[in-house]
């Protein structure tokens, strides 16, 4: 009766089942598997593992440390990022534009590289610590980044960007006639700020809080390098596994996952986005020139100092990357410089291999992400299939899972060949890392592709069809060119994330297939600071290039989305 319709239905069903199946197998199954395993001891089901966890004071300490540090990071990041967003978006003063752009610089540092450059700067024998020590003529460095405060410091530095970017975006979309309405109804400036402005920015604030909280819970590099014995869950998992106490690692994993997801749901419930959307179209407000010459200059100076502080880690990384390995011990600055580190990076196979490994694995994972995201995005947005909610949740899940959790769950599930249980032997092989990167980046790429599909007016495809174009022709000439900017920028983000990935890699890497981040750590352990920094600079430059590229594509995309 209806030939072309039925064909479409069949291929759609196959597509749907493969997307869902892949998500269930790679995203849900490993986590369920470790949950079940965490309830087992010597073959029988028991709560003994959990009992042991909750009776052990140091485990409770790790759990409460993780939560407290995360809450502290949210608070600190907000108190830096929110005022910056207000200052740069609402007020005009000398250098505002440049400062506003530079304020998002910390995103260029991948987690491990950021921590390493902080070590060079503020660590016990860091540039700043030694500088202060010698400058003041002290016996020991007066400041050394260590312990809980060090972790908080690193977190605030890297995560205030979330608040800065989210609130800036919120302010750019803000309907300032609401502020004017509030003032003309008799509310004071302060009252208006708290009851109108801040309330309307709730989605931006909760979004940034969520991102900061989850990233802090999952944070591994900062406690690993600066913790100095501070127990946090993400680190405990790694240590337990290293000590061969797999049962405890599993329990810690389940508890970390549960805590993360608990807070995710809590914040999401609080958010309730709809209520904050203004019914009117909104009037924009250009930044207001700060009155008073001295105040203006003062703000400019404070801004420059702030940005210098933000740029210090980048400069330090570049400086150290030119230092000769093994020469920098107790001096303030590295004493000897060379370009040998960079030359070696590209000439010696020993140094080049990690780069090639990472490039290859990141490319593989990203290609997988791209294909998967195109199919999933098409299904969710264009075909509006049933079970979209489930698909959406499965797709977001890897984002809520800390890197150590992902690493451990893959290491546990894919450690033997048993296809009937859906298990393959991947541990110790090349494939486990690309697979981990693929799973980890599913949310980023799918969301980018999904956004492109959503922006894309379905009438365009219909127009093409009614003008006589076949499905294939219209996909090739209309759909694909329109979604390509979003697809490219999403894939590029995934690619650099995979390139610099550290937290999952350290749990499951194999010695023959070391990614860049592991090599940085190895060089650091041998006091080859120059080589470690050179790897870091390479990563930062790749990330910067990707940001510039995706910025270009996304602005092209905005232009395309006009109709």
């Amino acid at each position: 009766m209806k030939p072309h319709r039925q064909n479409v239905q069949w291929s759609l069903l196959i597509l749907y089942l493969s997307v869902l199946g892949l998500l269930l197998w790679l995203v849900l199954y490993p986590n369920l598997y470790i949950f079940v395993q965490s309830l087992k001891r010597e073959g029988g089901f028991t709560f003994l593992n959990y009992q042991e966890f909750f009776l052990n004071p140091s485990q409770i300490e790790a759990l409460s440390n993780s939560v407290l540090i995360s809450l502290g990071s949210v608070f600190l990041s907000a108190s830096i990022g929110v005022p910056l967003a207000f200052a740069f978006n609402l007020y005009d003063f000398p250098g505002r534009r440049i400062l506003a752009a530079l304020a998002s610089l910390p995103v260029l540092l991948p987690p491990l590289v950021g921590v390493v450059s902080f070590l060079f700067l503020y660590g016990e024998s860091g540039i700043l610590s030694r500088g202060l020590q010698y400058g003041l003529g002290l016996k020991d460095p007066p400041v050394a980044l260590r312990g809980v405060w060090a972790i908080l410091f690193v977190h605030a530095y890297t995560m205030y960007v979330y608040f800065y970017l989210f609130v800036s975006a919120g302010l750019r979309r803000f309907d300032f006639s609401l502020v004017e309405a509030s003032r003309s109804l008799g509310a004071s400036r302060v009252r208006t700020f708290f009851l109108v402005t801040l309330r309307l920015l709730t989605p931006a604030m909760t979004g940034a809080s969520l991102l900061t909280f989850m990233t802090s819970m999952a944070s591994f590099s900062a406690p690993y390098i600066f913790g100095g014995g501070v127990r946090v869950l993400a680190l405990q998992i790694y240590n337990s596994k290293l000590n061969g106490d797999l049962e405890m690692a599993l329990v810690e994993t389940v508890i970390l996952t549960a805590t993360s997801i608990f807070f995710l749901i809590l914040l999401r419930r609080y958010e309730g986005t709809e209520r904050y959307r203004s019914v009117s179209k909104g009037t924009q407000r250009p930044p207001e020139l700060v009155q008073g010459r001295f105040l203006r200059m003062g703000l400019g100076v404070v801004g420059v100092l702030a940005v210098l502080f933000l740029l210090l880690p980048h400069f330090t990384l570049i400086l150290v990357s030119f230092s000769r390995d093994g020469t920098w011990t107790t001096e303030i600055l590295p004493p000897a410089y060379t370009i040998e580190n960079y030359r070696r990076l590209f000439s010696s196979t020993q140094f080049l291999d990690p780069i090639l490994n990472s490039l290859e694995m990141a490319a593989l994972a990203t290609a997988g992400n791209l294909l998967f995201a195109l199919l999933a995005g098409y299904l969710i947005v264009r075909k509006r299939v049933r079970g979209r909610l489930l698909l959406g949740m499965l797709i977001l899940l890897p984002w809520a899972l800390p890197g150590t959790v992902l690493g451990l769950s893959l290491a546990t599930t894919f450690d033997r060949y048993d296809p009937l249980q859906g298990r393959l032997l991947l541990v110790g092989t090349y494939w486990i890392l690309p697979l981990a990167y693929f799973i980890r980046n599913i949310p980023v790429v799918v969301r980018a592709v999904q956004a492109s599909f959503e922006q894309f007016d379905p009438a365009l495809e219909e127009a093409a069809r009614s003008l006589g174009a076949t499905w294939l022709y219209s996909f090739r000439r209309v759909v694909f060119p329109m979604i390509v900017p979003g697809v490219i920028s999403g894939s590029l983000l995934a690619f650099v994330a995979a390139l610099g990935e550290f937290v999952t890699s350290i749990v499951i890497y194999t010695i023959h297939n070391r990614p860049i981040s592991i090599e940085i750590l190895a060089q650091l352990r041998q006091f080859n600071f120059g080589s470690a920094a050179a790897y870091g600079v390479l990563l930062v430059m790749l990330i910067a290039a990707v940001f510039v590229l995706s910025e270009k594509y996304s602005s092209d995309g905005a232009q395309l989305g006009l109709s």
């Binding site: 007016d457 127009a463 000439r477 109709s563």
Partner: protein
Amino acid sequence: MSLLELQNLTQRFGDLTAVDDLNLSVDAGEFVSLLGPSGCGKTTTIRLIAGFLIPTAGRVLVSGREITNLPPERRNIGMVFQSYALFPHLNVLENVAFGLRAKKIQKNQIADKVKQCLALVNLSGYESRTMTQLSGGEQQRVAIARTLVTQPQILLLDEPLSNLDASLREQTRKQLKQLTRALGITAVFVTHDQEEAFALSDRIVLLSRGVCQQIGTPRELYHSPANEFVAQFIGKSNLLPLRFEGYGQDCLIFSFGSGVELRLRKAGMLHLRRGDVYRWLLRPEAIQFEKMPDNVRLFEARVLAQQFTGAFSEYELEGEGLRLLALQMNLSSSRALQVGETVSIHASPDAIHLLS
């Protein structure tokens, strides 16, 4: 044989019946509008004709050939979208040539046809502009040119004027009418704006909640609405409930609620039952304040409010427990009624139309 025929067309989305058993035939060269409030099924209907939806039941025929299940690209039916759906990554030339290229027409032919079509919509010289460099009206003309260049058998227009501002809309409406008449295009036009539908259409299909209420010329819809919905949707209206009292000498006798009698001379057979109340339509402009040879007196009414709008004066009247709206042309000789004044209202029997 009609060019386009819809037979018992039905489209359900879950529990919602968007189009319910619609029958329509459109002759070649005819301009037919689908008119109705939002959610009445008019857009669903042209999407069914275009092939973006497959109907739950019923058939779509073009020149007697069934196309119900044919994919859109094989129907040769053009569509102009409400949002225009211009391809933002292509320029004017590439947009207009899109359909020809998709059909693999020879290159030199494409260039000629595109050129002709752009001239037709006054866009010669715009070939290399991008969509963002065009005004709303120009975008709309590109959308029309892009569809016309493929020489569709039927042109579907989905509220193509709704994104233009008021003055441009009227101008574009005239151009559209000229163009479709000159080229003899068969068009199905969707709109919620009755003035637009009246100005453009040979016939109008009035839809409400997926059900066809009436199909007819604009004049038929205005003067002889098939039911109360049509009467109230089209133009302004007064509804008079009249009780049928019986037959007089060559006239029918009715009464208002209060017992005031009304004798109407009506041509044609009316099957009325004594004692039943029937609703009648009286358009505001048909109310007269003076006795004329060809009108009958209805009742006395008081002026509640008056509004001067230039060419017309609008009066709100009350009498016999009814509220009426009256529209009087402002001639230099006519006297303005004052609020509070009592007047006799009259109407020609032909202007009083029975609603079934």
